[in-house]
């Protein structure tokens, strides 16, 4: 039989790479055994995924990344799951080195997820200063066309310093639930550098006043802000809210979710913050969604009476939902709610 040519052999390596990038990581790896061209294409595969469990996995990953660094092979995606439970400073230095290589090779999507849950691991590398995200921010996910440098560093006071630039970052999810404090130092970052940040989800035990204030009041592009707190004691979003905090200044905000799983029982503070948000919603006709997930609040009649006092001429609300997990006694007679506020739902 006559073949005009052997089809796939004519495909240059760069096109084989394109096809590989449409496959899953494992499928792409399988193709490396087809021929030398496919092997070469695989060795320069732009999407990297690593799951590290055992000690010798670290060696393997290091070998691969050093090759990418030395040959300056571009990396588009870098996904790294750390399942290991090794707490040595050597390993943390390695991880920093790898993240550094990913950045140097123009990574567009980076996922670092640390599943070792090892507190001491983080304590170990307080002093390292490449990308110190792994130190206290346990999961980083971001996407962007040209993500230059994302530096999330932590120092000894568990501070999140978002230093310098995230100009192209469009989606940043911070998840640092079990750290005592996530704070932000404004000296390090001008708000204009956040201008492409569209959504932010932060969950942590405590969010500093400065971070919230800065995020809400300055960027004009933030569309979605989700704050989840598992705080014990004083929930300082309330502190922020009751103070000079002016949510109205964030004109672009479409979705604001504040979730709290802590029993607070400070009805007056709650009232103040809700009042403030209602006021905000009036001023910002674009706000579509405001969801309070207040699992664990102690409710009382005073609170609902307070709710009734809200201005009745607000036209800008699209949705207000109140979700409570604990509802002992609600006097339904007091529930003559402001007509645009949905009847509270509660779940048990």
């Amino acid at each position: 039989m006559y073949w005009r040519r052997a089809t796939a052999d004519i495909l240059p390596e760069c096109l084989v790479q394109k096809i590989l990038s449409c496959l899953s990581f494992q499928e792409a790896a399988q193709m490396s055994i087809l021929s030398k061209t496919w092997l070469q294409a695989w060795l320069a595969h732009a999407n990297l995924e690593f799951r590290v469990h055992r000690c010798n996995d670290f060696e393997t990953v290091d070998k691969v990344l050093v090759r990418y660094r030395d040959r300056k092979i571009p990396i588009d995606e870098f996904k790294f799951w750390n399942f290991s439970d090794f707490n040595s400073s050597q390993i943390s230095a390695l991880i920093h080195k790898w993240l550094g290589i990913a950045h140097q090779n123009c990574v567009k999507y980076l996922l670092y997820r640390d599943l070792s849950f090892s507190r001491s691991f983080y304590e170990e590398h307080k002093g390292v200063d490449v990308i110190r995200a792994p130190a206290h921010v346990v999961s980083i996910e971001y996407k962007g066309d040209k993500v230059p440098e994302l530096k999330i560093a932590t120092d000894q006071s568990n501070r999140l310093n978002n230093s310098k630039t995230i100009p192209h970052c469009s989606n940043l999810i911070l998840n640092a639930e079990w750290f005592s404090k996530l704070s932000y130092s404004s000296e390090e970052l001008e708000f204009v550098e956040y201008e492409n940040l569209k959504s932010l989800e932060a969950s942590c035990k405590r969010i500093s006043d400065g971070l919230i204030k800065h995020l809400i009041s300055t960027p004009h592009f933030l569309e979605s802000l989700v704050l989840v707190t598992v705080a014990s004691g004083k929930f300082n979003i309330f502190t922020v809210a009751s103070g000079k905090f002016n949510i109205c200044r964030c004109r672009s905000l479409r979705v604001l979710k504040i979730k709290s799983y802590q029993n607070i029982g400070l009805s007056d503070v709650l009232f103040r913050i809700l009042n403030l948000h209602l006021k905000f919603a009036e001023e910002s006709s674009k706000l579509n969604n405001f969801i309070r997930d207040t699992r664990g609040y102690n409710l009382n009649d005073v609170w609902f009476c307070g709710l009734r006092k809200f201005p009745s001429n607000s036209t800008s609300w699209r949705q207000v939902s109140l979700v409570f997990s604990k509802c002992n006694e609600i006097n339904m007679k007091h529930l003559q709610l402001y007509h645009r506020v949905a009847t509270p739902k509660w779940t048990f």
Binding site: A6, A8, D9, Q26, A29, Q30, I33, L34
Partner: protein
């Protein structure tokens, strides 16, 4: 109108709005290098006809979203990639040369979808790949990434 000439000396007239989806030709036009016929020495007429068919259909990509023709385009794309491997690779090469990003994505995705779950033997046969690796090299690849070659039974058919 822009004239394109394939490597077998056939000329094709294409609307400028369609042909500028090719970054390469767009640049040529912008630089004023596209005054007469644009020769495409890497593309035969059969492939060029396919590419032009794609360009004409995708001429108003932006508008499609507004007018609800997205489904129509999607259907067209599905039909479009329904071709043999040889032809598909020719189109990929042409799309790469002309720098038509969307077409490139479409064809590479189609190629990848067809390769999914196929055994090494099946892929080699489908793509007529000459295996130039020695047995030792093959074994080394498997040893380097054993996880890649584990997993459920794979499809050994060549369709």
């Amino acid at each position: 109108m822009v004239k394109l000439k394939s490597n077998d000396d056939k000329e094709f007239e294409v609307e400028e709005a369609a042909v500028i989806q090719s970054e390469m030709i767009k640049n040529m036009i912008e630089d004023g290098c596209a005054t007469s016929v644009i020769p495409l020495p890497n593309i035969d007429s059969k492939t060029l006809i396919k590419v032009i068919e794609y360009l004409n259909k995708h001429i108003n990509m932006g508008k499609a979203a507004e007018t609800g023709e997205e489904d129509d385009l999607k259907e067209f794309d599905e039909q479009f990639v329904n071709m043999g491997w040889e032809e598909l690779f020719d189109v990929i090469m042409a799309a790469n040369y002309l720098n038509i990003h969307e077409l490139m994505e479409l064809c590479c995705q189609s190629a990848a979808d067809r390769l999914k779950n196929k055994s090494v033997r099946a892929v080699r046969e489908m793509l007529k790949i000459t295996n130039d690796l020695t047995e030792e090299e093959e074994q080394e690849i498997i040893n380097d990434a054993p996880w890649a070659f584990e997993g459920p039974e794979i499809d050994d058919t060549v369709n």
